[in-house]
Amino acid sequence: MREFAYARPASLADAASAFANGGEAAFIAGGHTLLPAIKSRLRMPDTLVDLAHVAGLTGIARDGDRLWIGAMTTHATVTGDATVAAAIPGLARLAAGIGDPQVRNRGTLGGVIANNDPAADYPAAVLALDAIVETDRGSYAADDYFQGMFATALADGEIVRRIGFRVPQAAAYAKFRHPASRYAVVGVFVARFADGVRVAVTGAGPGVFRWADAEAALSTDFSAAAVKGLTLDDGDLNTDIHASAEFRAHLAGVMLADAIAAA
């Protein structure tokens, strides 16, 4: 039988100390990655530290050219939030396409970003929107934060507090979803800023990454025509039971065109 202790701290400091004193501890946010992993014995923590009651991890606010979203904000909240819709409508649409309605009622932005599943959707937005990941210990630029499959810059026990997305002139996400899991077989997030275009790709490789050739082409001409025929190098991409690297390389070009059309 599974067995673990459970802590319900109310502050970041208490959460950090519950984690430090909890043996093999894990934070739990929405639990929609962690609990399936515990059920299948992929994770066997001694202690779960629940972030649901920790102050300061929720809230959505625009501050200058940044849209800040608290780590514990659910996908459903982002989907329906007026501030998000006004600042970065493409981000609200991305959230609306995660999993299914019941998953969106529980899953959180912070949970996705801490987990960094190579097929998750939000990492593409965080990277393309040049976001800042703010934690209880400091902050990271998105370019430094993601470090490959399930790997991030977070230290053991570090807590994501909120994400600050840079508000673009235009942005959109397109994903080819796996029909059963809803995760991205390939997803492409395009963001146009006054000083250039950023393009991030998820699902295709071992972790989210920027697509330099697409960024260069789109920065001079933001149109599908500018990237027509552009594909990724399939040498770096995933082959699994769902799709070959070659298929993913082609799909990335198709998703890129879709994202540009939607931006």
Partner: protein, 159 residues
């Protein structure tokens, strides 16, 4: 861990092992076996319940995470002998065959009305059922049932 919940309108305070899933508390400890377990991967929706009126998968939530909240299961929808409009619509529209997925489908239907309103169209219903699997019906009658249930919920609300 001492946990307090309201389940189908009744207050409950009891010791719950932290690793207990909400669905395990409901089924194994409280005998509320209307909530089903159809998968091990959080994908089928047979376990959907309402927490403070919002549909969630009770197989992917610890009972202790529901502390202080109001849980509604399929057993708690009817008022005496009067079925909830969404339940009545499933019976009317023949929205089930074996019935295994039905409790989760009814909860998903109520969730769709909460988010989309009572005039939600069939296409939206089909899309929003992406987290619910049925091995029998081919979904068409489930969609019809939810559409009819939504309208009835609208009428009840206006009555």
């Amino acid at each position: 861990m001492q946990t307090r919940l309201t389940i189908n309108g009744q207050d409950l305070s009891r010791e719950v092992a932290p690793a207990t899933l909400l669905v395990e508390l409901l089924r194994d400890e409280l005998g509320l076996t209307g909530t089903h377990i159809g998968c091990d991967t959080s994908q089928c929706g047979a376990c959907n319940v309402l927490i403070d009126g919002v549909a969630v998968k009770s197989c992917t939530l610890l009972a202790v995470q529901a502390d202080g909240k109001a849980v509604t299961t399929i057993e708690g929808l009817a008022t005496g002998d009067t079925l909830h409009p969404m339940q009545a619509a499933f019976r009317e529209a023949h929205g089930l065959q074996c019935g295994f997925c039905t409790p989760g489908m009814v909860m998903a239907g109520i969730e769709i009305v909460r988010r989309r309103g009572p005039n939600v169209d069939a296409e939206t219903i089909a899309h929003d059922l992406e987290g619910n699997l049925c091995r029998c019906t081919g979904y068409m009658n489930i969609i019809k049932a939810i559409e009819a249930g939504a309208r009835m919920m609208g009428e009840t609300a206006n009555a």
